[in-house]
């Protein structure tokens, strides 16, 4: 039976993290994410976990990797400019394979931009922000119930693949109260994954030797006998720096492959009225909610519209997008930015259908009637 409760978006994220087993949070205040830190400051000590507010965003990301290496499920939350500051240590976390979750509650940018208003301008930064090559899972829920589900899923994949996972929210989602069915989050309903532990005796232990799943079993620091080294330099199975070209290429290949190979399992979308759709909308987060209403409004007017709401933003649902492009006459990508995910949609569409944009970066959300107007324009053959 459903157990409906009203939850504040950012608080729901914190509560779900606790359910997922998060026991370490390091953060730095930034609008519109601060309520996640505030809730964690209240909850973690009661659950025997660590909360610390660090001196800056960079420090928060560093402490998170420290907590993760100690064996605790670790997390931080931030927004645009803070996410930029975290990039160096996010790259480090990817390189040393420290499981952790980074929440980015998107606001309007660039720079200080529109700190109290929503944006979807981190779509590209969430994947490409750090230096060097990287592939990490990026999830973007669309309502408060899903914030809880995706927070738990983010922790699960972070632990299973030993990788940072980015959870994108936006100001509307973070600062909104919405009904959540808490019956879905009882211990018997929630699946929790934990990172694997080494299954060899200490003398045979090589922290960075991957298993068949491409994931190494690094023991938490402090585990007797299982001492090890981690470095941001290219490294061999012992974790020690190497410049051997074969070893270096193998490392980067594996780091990317371990996420890329899981794309089918990671993929998560919501499909709405796509079966007979002629115009498909591809979007995510708050904008997808306006799009869903717009689909209904368009159908009332006799236009066959449908929606693909992407939840796993990266790695992108390449094949699904390609198939979609083959099955419709046009695709529309509305985003609260000046055009980001549209590039990925265009790439995956491979020319099978024209891809249209609806962009905005002024702090205002896109309303259903605006998407409807664009759909009508496309249906009439305009742009």
């Amino acid at each position: 039976m459903a157990k409906l409760e009203l939850k504040y978006g950012n608080h729901a994220c914190a509560e779900a993290a606790i359910i997922a087993g998060c026991r370490f949070y390091a953060g730095y205040p930034i609008t519109p994410s601060s309520e996640i830190a505030e809730k964690m400051a209240e909850l973690l000590p009661k659950h025997g976990g660590v909360f610390i507010q660090m001196e800056d965003e960079i420090a928060a990301m560093g402490a998170v990797v420290g907590g993760s290496f100690a064996g605790l499920k670790s997390m931080t939350a931030t927004s645009g400019p803070g996410f930029s500051l975290k990039q160096e240590n996010l790259g480090y976390a990817f390189m040393v394979e420290a499981p952790c979750v980074i929440v980015n509650v998107q606001r309007g940018g660039p720079s200080t931009g529109l700190p109290t208003q929503p944006g979807q301008q981190e779509i590209m930064q969430s994947l490409w922000g750090t230096h060097g090559d990287k592939l990490i899972p990026v999830f973007y829920p669309g309502n408060v119930q899903e914030i809880m589900e995706e927070t738990i899923r983010a922790f699960n994949w972070a632990e299973r693949l030993r990788t940072p996972v980015v959870l994108l929210l936006d100001e509307v989602l973070g600062h909104m109260r919405e009904t959540v069915d808490m019956a879905q989050f009882t211990p018997d309903k929630v699946e929790i994954w934990n990172r694997k532990m080494p299954d060899v005796p200490p003398e045979e232990y090589l922290p960075y030797k991957p298993g068949e799943d491409d994931v190494p079993a690094i023991a938490p620091y402090g585990t007797p006998g299982y001492r090890g080294h981690a470095t941001g330099l290219h490294h061999d199975y012992t974790g020690f720096p190497t410049t051997d070209p074969e070893m270096c290429q193998e490392l980067i290949d594996r780091l990317i492959r371990k996420v890329k190979n899981r794309q089918p399992e990671l993929e998560k979308n919501e499909e709405y009225k796509l079966d007979d759709a002629e115009i498909a909308i591809v979007t995510f987060g708050t904008t997808a909610r306006a799009a869903k209403t717009a689909v209904d409004l368009a159908r009332e007017k006799g236009i066959k519209a449908g929606l693909l709401r992407v939840i796993t933003i990266w790695p992108s649902p390449e094949e699904t997008l390609n198939k979609l492009a083959k099955s419709v006459k046009a695709i529309l990508v509305p985003e609260l930015n000046m055009g980001q995910y549209v590039f990925e949609v265009e790439r995956c569409a491979r020319g099978e259908a024209p891809v249209y944009r609806l962009n905005r970066a002024n702090g205002k959300i896109i309303y259903p009637h605006e998407i409807l107007a664009k759909i009508e324009e496309i249906a009439k053959g305009g742009k």
């Binding site: 459903a2 409906l4 409760e5 009203l6 700190p115 109290t116 208003q117 309502n143 119930q145 509307v172 600062h175 909104m176 109260r177 919405e178 009904t179 708050t286 909610r289 306006a290 869903k292 209403t293 209904d296 002024n362 702090g363 205002k364 959300i365 309303y367 259903p368 009637h369």
Partner: protein, 208 residues
């Protein structure tokens, strides 16, 4: 069913808290709800508002677009809301104001404080319910601050005008929501405030 409510008043009148209590009550009633507020520069100075969308199924678009009810707590808010430029009633309203100024549906409930708001609305277009909300808070409960919760009581009763004699949300759900939303030491005061609101709400409906 999609039902949109706005609570609007001068800053400090607890409009957002009232919206939170209302959304919580909807959840208690087994309905889905979203509650949003407008922050920062988008807000007009001095006016504060909380929006609630209620539905019998999960909600797609979480913000308000066409109000089924509006609770107006001050003249300033009234001027903004009704005499101002609701987006689709006045073509001169700029797109930028769309977050704050939304359409009020014909037949919508308009709940106003009879002492604080001079209401000259066309009663054929809206269901106007005028009650001594702030006065009841000050004189009966001794705390003017609880006028927002008194207003919710009036709203609870007034929704019977829209749902064939039944309220949208029961008294019990509101009382439970109050318990969940206000600090423990203020629960009794706020429950009483709500019940006084119900009382003056009923009187206002009889008068009308």
């Amino acid at each position: 069913m999609r039902y949109e409510v706005r609570v609007i008043g001068s800053a400090g009148q607890g409009s957002i808290l009232a919206a939170v209590v209302l959304a919580t009550a909807a959840a208690e009633e087994g309905l889905w709800a979203t509650q949003t507020a407008t922050y920062g520069a988008a807000m007009r100075s001095g006016v504060s508002l909380g929006d609630v969308v209620i539905s019998d199924k999960p909600i797609d678009f979480p913000k308000t677009t066409e109000l089924d009810a509006v609770i107006i707590q001050s003249q300033e808010a009234y001027d903004d809301m009704i005499k101002g430029k609701p987006v689709r009633l006045d073509p001169e309203c700029s797109e930028a104001d769309a977050d704050v100024l939304v359409n009020v549906k014909p037949g919508a409930l308009v709940i106003v404080d009879e002492d604080l708001v001079q209401c000259d609305l066309n009663c054929n277009m809206y269901r106007v319910v005028s009650a001594p909300i702030a006065r009841t808070a000050a004189e009966v409960l001794g705390r003017r601050q609880v006028m927002n919760i008194v207003a919710l009581g009036v709203f609870q009763v007034a929704t019977t005008l829209q749902f064939e004699g039944k309220p949208l949300i029961s008294e019990e759900s509101f009382l439970k929501a109050i318990e969940k939303s206000v600090p423990a030491r203020f629960i009794d005061l706020n429950r009483n405030a709500f019940m006084e609101g119900v009382k003056i709400g009923k009187e206002a409906l009889q008068k009308a």
